[in-house]
């Protein structure tokens, strides 16, 4: 495949992200503070790597980078997308592996989740102050309404599945179950260690008379 396709895709994505970040100076300053750390995203199928370099101008996306990588995320495309969409704080059972610094990833994730675009500034530059202000107010109210609705829908769906249909366990039930599994695993590990210890002792005792006979 012509390498221009992937280069063009990365260039477009980078341009879109940085065009939005122009109107969020706080995030740009926070990203600049992460320089020169590098995040590598390794998609295993199809085998592709994308390198994310935060800097003064926002984010740079590279298809090839030979310097030191701070953090690498590795997984299939669906697994990586699932991780981005979810609010989860750990990678357990996510199908994604992490190598390197977790703090850099957490910092980057925090900045990108808190991106707050100054719509007023963006629209004012195109339409002038008055229309820009009114447009920005409209966008802000619509975004806020959408965010509330999404949160409500998520909460109601969750309650319906756990409380009404009882097809899914609630969060406390799941936490209790996880704790029990952890305790069981610890218990099993202790039993295993104990058995190994006893077997070793038996083996030692079995060999001692034989050795003594041999010596006499």
């Amino acid at each position: 495949m012509d390498p221009m396709f992937s280069t063009a895709a990365l260039a477009s994505a980078e341009k879109m992200i940085n065009a939005a970040l122009v109107y969020d100076p706080a995030s740009r300053i926070a990203l600049a503070a992460l320089e020169p750390q590098v995040l590598a995203i390794h998609i295993t199928s199809p085998d592709t790597k994308v390198f994310v370099l935060p800097g003064v101008e926002g984010l740079e996306l590279h298809g090839n980078y030979e310097g030191e990588v701070t953090t690498q995320l590795q997984g299939t495309l669906p697994a990586l997308l699932g991780l981005i969409k979810s609010d989860r704080l750990n990678l357990k059972d996510s199908g994604v592996q992490l190598f390197g610094s977790t703090s850099f990833l957490a910092e980057l994730q925090k900045i990108l989740k808190n991106v707050d675009i100054d719509w007023e500034e963006m629209l004012s530059q195109v339409f002038g102050d008055i229309i820009g202000h009114q447009g920005a107010e409209l966008i802000r109210s619509k975004l806020s309404w959408t965010k509330d609705r999404v949160t409500n829908i998520q909460r109601l769906t969750s309650e319906f599945l756990t409380e009404e249909l009882r097809v899914l366990p609630s969060k406390p039930e799941l936490a209790f179950f996880n704790a029990q599994v952890d305790e069981l695993k610890l218990g099993a590990d202790r039993v295993k260690a104990r058995i190994e210890h006893i077997l070793a002792r038996i083996a030692r005792q079995g060999s001692e008379p034989h050795n003594r006979n041999k010596n006499s």
Binding site: M4, T7, E68
Partner: protein
């Protein structure tokens, strides 16, 4: 009677010592509108070709980079960011008009401290042996009179393990694309040149010089003959442009 040595200037044969002068004339003429023309001629794709070159360079903090025929400084700007304050970039061009445009542009963009400018001939690079981690020459090699001499000069100033990247127009890999490209180069390109810079001849030279430039395999062999190892190339946009890479052993 001694025979005068000649070389090509587009489709024309000129005396070897005259080529540099003729090429200089072309670039003095187009320097002011070089970037606008590049965008117009390639529909902005030259930015992607250069972006791919930057990524393939492997340049990182602390490296020393020589950008030959760097012209208006597109590559040098990115390299200056990559090498950081501990690295060094030298933007070199044989043509003073191009170099002036590049220097002004980089200063206007706030690039300073880790970049220097040198008016030099790629055939006789005025740098000590084993100086650079990476050398690039983008859309410049075809204008050089003695390409083999230039490649050997680049090899000399590269550090062992350093890499040379040659980004240059090349031979399209599909017959249909080649026909469309020929029509575009010889009919449309001089017309755009006339409309934008009032200089159809310079852009006719551009099209002709591309046809006279060695194709992918020939340039790869030239790099090997000059002493580079692991010489390879990547075709871009169907082979209209190719990026050749070679390592100094």
């Amino acid at each position: 009677m001694s025979e005068q040595k000649t070389t090509h200037f587009g489709f024309e044969q000129v005396a070897v010592e005259k080529k540099a002068e003729r090429v200089a004339g072309v670039f003095h003429s187009v320097a002011a509108k070089y970037d606008v023309m590049n965008d117009l001629m390639s529909a902005g794709i030259h930015r992607l070709w250069k972006r791919f070159t930057i990524e393939a360079s492997g340049v990182r903090a602390g490296h020393k980079v020589l950008d030959i025929a760097g012209g208006t400084g597109d590559l040098s700007y990115q390299f200056a960011k990559l090498v950081g304050k501990d690295g060094q970039v030298i933007l070199a061009d044989i043509n003073s008009s191009m170099l002036n445009v590049g220097r002004d542009r980089l200063i206007d963009r706030g690039v300073a401290g880790n970049i220097q400018f040198a008016q030099t001939d790629a055939q006789y690079l005025p740098f000590p042996d084993n100086t650079f981690d990476c050398i690039t020459i983008a859309f410049g090699l075809r204008n050089v009179t003695d390409k083999d001499l230039a490649l050997r000069s680049m090899l000399r100033v590269l550090k062992p393990g350093g890499r040379l990247l040659v980004l240059e127009f090349s031979k399209p890999q599909h017959t249909a694309l080649e026909k469309v490209y020929d029509t575009y180069s010889f009919k449309l390109l001089p017309l755009i040149g006339k409309l934008v810079t009032n200089d159809a001849d310079s852009y006719r030279y551009l099209a002709e010089s591309i046809r006279m430039h060695p194709d992918q395999e020939t340039l790869k062999d030239m790099m090997k003959n000059a002493g580079f190892v692991n010489a390879e190339f990547t075709n871009m946009t169907g082979g209209i442009v190719a990026l050749h890479k070679g390592i100094k052993p």
